[in-house]
Amino acid sequence: MQVFLQTVIGGASLGAIYALVALGFSLVYRTMGLVNFSHGNVVMIGAYIASTFYLSAKLPFALAMLIALAVTGAIGIIIERVLRPLENKDFDLMLIGTIGFGIVLEALAIRIWGATGRAVPSPVPAPPLDLFGLRIRTYDLLVLGIAAAASLLLIVFLQRTKRGAAMQAVAMDHEAATAVGIHVGRSNAIAFMFGAALAALAGGLVGPLLYVSPSMGGTLGIKGFAAAILGGFGSVPGAIVGGLAIGVLDSFATGHFQGYSELVTFLVFTVLIMIRPLGIFGERTVNRA
């Protein structure tokens, strides 16, 4: 039981990261029906920028994060602007276009920061808490807290603000949204910007948990995407639940299968998604003939 709970707790903080990555995927997907395969690489760029300003420029961690958010937000806007001609036309082509962006971002990261990674010390020096014999790292709590706050803010934005409502409208029917005077392009750009900012948040937070390297984007992106699909693609609560599920699954796979954890994680994911292709909170859309 002790080991079980410890494994769950160990998975939760990475799970929160996956949830943030999944939220970014979902936000972009629900607004413009696009899967951004470069999302993982944006996470990586965010991690590098945050760690650079934190380590080299000796800025406070929070400030470094804000800079990372701003820079990746700009990257998101650029990606959206370049791919805009394809919006609502060819889904597969856009998907491949974002893979192209991912390739470029990774190469740029290697150019700027080198191919080897770096370790980032935890910004919270406090010792781990001891709760009924379970060790909980204070930084993990910080990660969980920030992830929860970000999800809440996102939900409030989507449901309570005019801009958020406009984005929901675009998601449901972009033509009808245009007809009532919503600027679809701008709405999509904002979705992309927020998606990228969420990626940077995940990247900045994951720095002290993992090793920051140019190739981290691939794994984080794929697992975040898997989380989004598992929860139900496009659904905000789905992204959170899916992220935590993948994190815990990962933690168990590492505990029991060591090196083969990825193999196990992806096999389990494939089986789950075969059983329920729409995920936990997914909605079935009816084929219209």
């Binding site: 394809l86 082509l93 856009m94 276009g97 893979i99 470029v104 190469a107 150019r111 992806f266």
Partner: protein, 609 residues
């Protein structure tokens, strides 16, 4: 044609004499390029031709390479035996990776295949038997009597021959029934199912084809490099492969090969600056996707189109293509008329429930053989839902569908198509990237997907089958007056002509029951008259027709019986004149009398037109 053969001969000569110009390093590069070209063909078949996003092609490659390595070094098998077994293993893995395609498509499939590819690299980096991160060295060179294949120059010729054969095979597949069906499925899997294409089987076939090419490349890789390690089969190389296919043009196999050659040469030229090479090919992928979606292979056509727009190049064809008259079917004799004992179509208590929204409520009706049945009703009354249930797109929540006495409730669309149900769609679902002739050809082909085994052993049979199909297609096109449009894609045709193409496609299946969903929508008066002539002739040939239509004049003159729907229920059924007088019909169409002053005058005109 002569130019093409000449060009091909020149290309073959160049490839044959190429090694004389290359030093020992460059011949190695050439050998690796051919392997990537093989991989690109496989990915082009799965992704470009069949439309199945496959990000595990590099894993098929790896599975075969590793299997060859393990079988030769650990199990002591000879290279060729090991190679053959490895190819079979790769094919099995291909089928396994393809199974998710039965349940999901597009980005879902992308992430699942990518995850499985990652699982593969994860396995080889950790597994003892695969040599871990160091990989496996000292794979024996393939033995071949009289030729030393450890010499890269000789290996080049082995690869060249394999490449020529497999490329020819891939082109053959694309141009014959199997490839055409895959392209149809890529363009519109729903419509493909409705014309009898076994979509699930075909998706698996697409992955199988991809894994065959990946497997062949993997075996050759093991024989060429004689060393395997995990990083060769990494996700980075998967994306490189994807870039090759996109840049070259995924729907053209020649384009895929050109893309592979171009990118590999680029990588070679920038070998000292790998990150710049990566930036370059990433940016090219983005640019291609935005500006030339058909890739390098599509650029000539784009250039021609541009030239034409600027007024350059040859003027249009001398004779404008014209829609010919419909030539009626020979009417079936009494003997050929279907067994009149059993109703052609019988619906018994069909209910269709979409999460609480009841689109059809306990609908029962029978359609007799040789009848033309009209189905009318206000928008949203469940007419198209009914068609979707009958043609297998929806599985009804309750009730039974029988076809000439055989229960077919919730059968897959392709099964129903094989059982003799054909349909058209309200919003037209032609295969946009196929020509009109190919649209008809897909429907004409009544063979099953499993009969594709003939591609492996009896290509001549496939070719003969293809020739018969083409003759039949010309017949169908001539009958519907579409011969002039045989070689254009449907998107370029006027709307009315597209509607006729769809009917021709449905009739190419030689159905027993034809479902027409608003065939007159958007047609002008003359076209409606032609339509009614076509439908009558179709009935006279022994086919039962059910038609959903809003054009009341057409319904009244054409149909033997009319069934009226409102809010998912049948409110009237009978001869057209009776039904038009029934008070409940008038109410459903025009609202009840209390509401009537709110109904604008035009609605009345619409109803009785």
């Amino acid at each position: 044609m002569r130019y093409r053969i000449g060009g091909l001969a020149a290309l073959a000569m160049a490839a044959w004499y190429l090694p004389y110009q290359l030093d020992s390093y460059l011949i190695h590069v050439a050998n690796v390029i051919i392997l990537f070209a093989l991989l690109a063909i496989g990915l082009g078949l799965t992704m470009g031709v069949a439309g199945q996003i496959n990000l595990a092609q590099v894993a098929f490659f790896g599975v075969a390479a590793y299997a060859t390595a393990i079988l030769t070094t650990r199990a002591g098998l000879g290279f060729w035996t090991a190679g053959l077994v490895s190819l079979l293993i790769a094919m099995a893995i291909g089928l396994l990776v393809g199974t998710p395609a039965l349940r999901m498509q597009s980005h879902y499939l992308g992430i699942v295949t990518l995850g499985l590819a990652l699982a593969f690299t994860n396995w080889v980096t950790n597994s003892q038997i695969a040599g871990g991160a160091e990989g496996i060295t000292a794979i024996p060179a393939p033995a071949f009597p009289g030729v030393d294949l450890s010499n890269e120059y000789f290996f080049y010729y082995l690869e060249l021959i394999v490449f020529a054969l497999t490329m020819a095979f891939a082109l053959f597949v694309v141009r014959t029934p199997l490839g055409r069906r895959m392209r149809a499925m890529r363009d519109d899997s729903l419509a493909a199912g409705a014309v009898g294409v076994e979509v699930p089987m075909l998706r698996m076939t697409a992955f199988l084809l991809g894994s065959i090419y990946g497997g062949i490349a993997g075996v050759l890789y093991a024989g060429l490099i004689r060393y395997v390690a995990p990083e060769t089969f990494s996700i980075a190389n998967m994306f490189l492969l994807l870039a090759m296919v996109i840049i070259g043009g995924r729907q053209s196999l020649v384009g895929c090969v050109v893309g592979a050659i171009v990118l590999m040469l680029l990588r070679e030229a920038l070998i000292d600056y790998p990150t710049y090479a990566q930036v370059a090919y990433g940016s090219v992928v983005v640019l291609i996707v935005v500006f030339a979606p058909a890739g390098l292979a599509g650029i000539p056509r784009q250039a021609v189109r541009l030239a034409r727009r600027l007024g350059l190049g040859p003027a249009g064809a001398a004779r404008t293509p014209r829609l010919g008259p419909f030539q009626p079917y020979p009417s079936a004799g009494a003997a050929e008329a279907v067994d009149a004992e059993k109703p052609m179509l019988e619906l018994d208590g069909i209910t269709m429930n979409f999460r609480g929204l009841i689109a059809l409520r306990d609908v029962s009706m029978t359609v007799d053989p040789g009848e033309i049945r009209g189905i009318v009703g206000p928008n949203g009354s469940g007419k198209t839902t009914l068609f979707n249930v009958v043609s297998g797109l929806y599985r009804p929540s309750a009730g039974r569908v029988t076809l000439s006495g055989v229960t077919v409730t919730a059968a897959r669309p392709y099964r129903l198509a094989q059982a003799g149900v054909a349909r058209t769609f309200q919003n037209l679902r032609l295969f946009p990237a196929l020509t009109v002739r190919e649209n008809v050809l897909v429907a004409l082909d009544r063979t099953r997907v499993w009969s594709s085994w003939r591609y492996a052993v009896w290509q001549l049979g496939v070719w003969r089958h293809e020739r018969t199909l083409r003759d039949e297609a010309d017949e169908v096109l001539a009958r519907f007056g579409l011969s002039d449009f045989a070689d254009v894609t449907p998107g370029a045709l006027p709307y009315g002509t597209q509607r006729r193409v769809e009917i021709a496609r449905a009739m190419a299946r030689r159905p027993r029951l034809l479902l027409l969903d608003e065939p007159a929508a958007g047609l002008n008066g003359e076209e409606v008259r032609q339509l009614s002539e076509i439908v009558r002739s179709i009935r006279a040939s022994g086919v039962t027709v059910v038609v959903i239509e809003h054009n009341m004049a057409l319904v009244m003159s054409l149909c033997d019986r009319v069934t009226v729907f409102a809010s998912g229920q049948i409110i009237a059924d009978g001869a057209p004149t009776e039904v038009a007088r029934a008070p409940q019909v008038i109410e459903a169409y025009l609202g009840d009398s209390a509401m009537s002053e709110d109904v604008p005058q035009t609605a009345t005109a619409e109803g009785t037109r």
